[in-house]
Amino acid sequence: MKNHVLRPLWLALGLIAAVLIARHFMVPDDFGVHGDSFTYNFYRLGAVKYWEDFPAKYQGRERCGKCHDENAETIAASKHSIIQCENCHGPGVGHPKTVKQLPVNGSRELCLRCHEYLAYPSSLRSQLPGIDGNTHKPNKECRKCHDPHQPDLEG
């Protein structure tokens, strides 16, 4: 009886069939090649939607200015006009409906990000007005003397 030779083959085919059936049920319908290339465009279409629907946090200064028009005007007239409100106040998502008040980051470290003077002549950094954080009023919050919305003490 030579047909017993094929028995392992039937077993193998059975297992392959099982995998193919499992694949039919377990692979999402929108999985496939969505584009020109199998190399770069093989994916589940729903994944794009996941990222499109990801919640945005930062709102942008135009939205802040709608209510906080005075502050917006002051800061727009100063050298700090280039800084986003949310850089210091955190993201505005949920404000004012669910977040009554945004925090104020009053730490020295925030200001030193730009204003710790670094002598790098080939970088724009060296052209920013700056101090040596260790010697200029150490441990004191910058905003005690400098208004972040209107930082220039010389007016």
Binding site: Y40, Y43, W51, Q84, N87, C114, Y120
Partner: protein, 258 residues
């Protein structure tokens, strides 16, 4: 059977209006605002990024914004974007650091615990880095299950629900932009803030940067201001010898940059 000029004109105009209405209607129904603009003007949407290292001051506000916007645990030693500092001294040494990925900015002249005399500095600058959203992304090529991919508008994304966490994509990236998200335990990287740019917003890092060192544009639109710079000025890319065809271009990239 004569077709008067008036009739002909009427029909032509009607036909033209109909022809214009179809893509307009389709635009409204199917496309996102950015794509819509591009499509109606007959231009393909292909996101591009321009980093101007002449303008970067190392304030790190971009890294802070990115981590907050994209829910990367703030204190974890990983970030979708980071800023590197290069200080080249007169003896030919290049000192490079990126403390906490530049998240808190550079608030000290000390580099890697070493105080460098300003007199010794030949040149020093800051280099922001992020995912290059390559045209030929090696990370996508090596994903065994199709969990990372390239969208039609050129952004490389990760499917968080499908990624098995093998790390092959992380190893395959020549730029080291990928990592494992500590909470989702899947591969993670910069997405050009896909969730923002597809809604007409700016990427978080682009918006946060006070000095316009980071800008984005549409490479498919020749009138896009960023595209114009890329096409007409001298720009560089990182590690082009790998054949990845990055979509992130640099102005002022020094040969010392790693």
């Amino acid at each position: 059977m004569s077709c008067s000029r008036r009739d002909f004109l009427k029909q032509s105009v009607a036909g033209a209006v109909a022809a214009a209405a179809v893509p307009t209607v389709c635009t409204v129904i199917f496309l996102e605002p950015g794509e819509a603009e591009a499509a109606v003007e007959g231009k393909k949407l292909r996101w591009t990024f321009l980093v101007d290292t002449e303008k970067c001051v190392g304030c790190g506000l971009c890294v802070q914004a990115c981590k907050t916007e994209n829910e990367i645990p703030y204190d974890a030693p990983v970030s979708r974007t980071w800023v590197e500092r290069y200080v080249v001294t007169k003896d030919g040494e290049t000192h490079i650091d990126s403390p906490i990925q530049g998240r808190d900015g550079y608030t000290s002249p000390e580099i890697r615990g070493e105080v460098i005399d300003p007199e010794d500095i030949e040149k020093a600058f800051f280099v922001p880095k992020l995912c290059n959203q390559c045209d030929n992304p090696p990370c996508v090529q090596v994903c065994p299950v199709g969990a990372t991919f390239q969208t039609e508008d050129g952004v490389v994304l990760v499917d968080r629900d499908w990624c098995i966490g093998c790390g092959y994509c992380v190893m395959a990236c020549p730029y080291g932009v990928r990592f494992f998200h500590p909470v989702t335990k899947t591969a993670e990287k910069c997405t050009f803030c896909y969730h923002r740019i597809t809604e007409g917003k700016q990427a978080a890092c682009v918006q946060a940067c006070p000095f316009e060192a980071r800008r984005m544009g549409n490479l498919g639109d020749p009138d896009d201001p960023v595209t114009k710079i890329i096409m007409t000025e001298r720009v560089q890319v990182l590690k082009d010898e790998y054949g990845t065809k990055p979509s992130v271009f640099y102005l002022g990239l020094d040969e010392r940059v790693r």
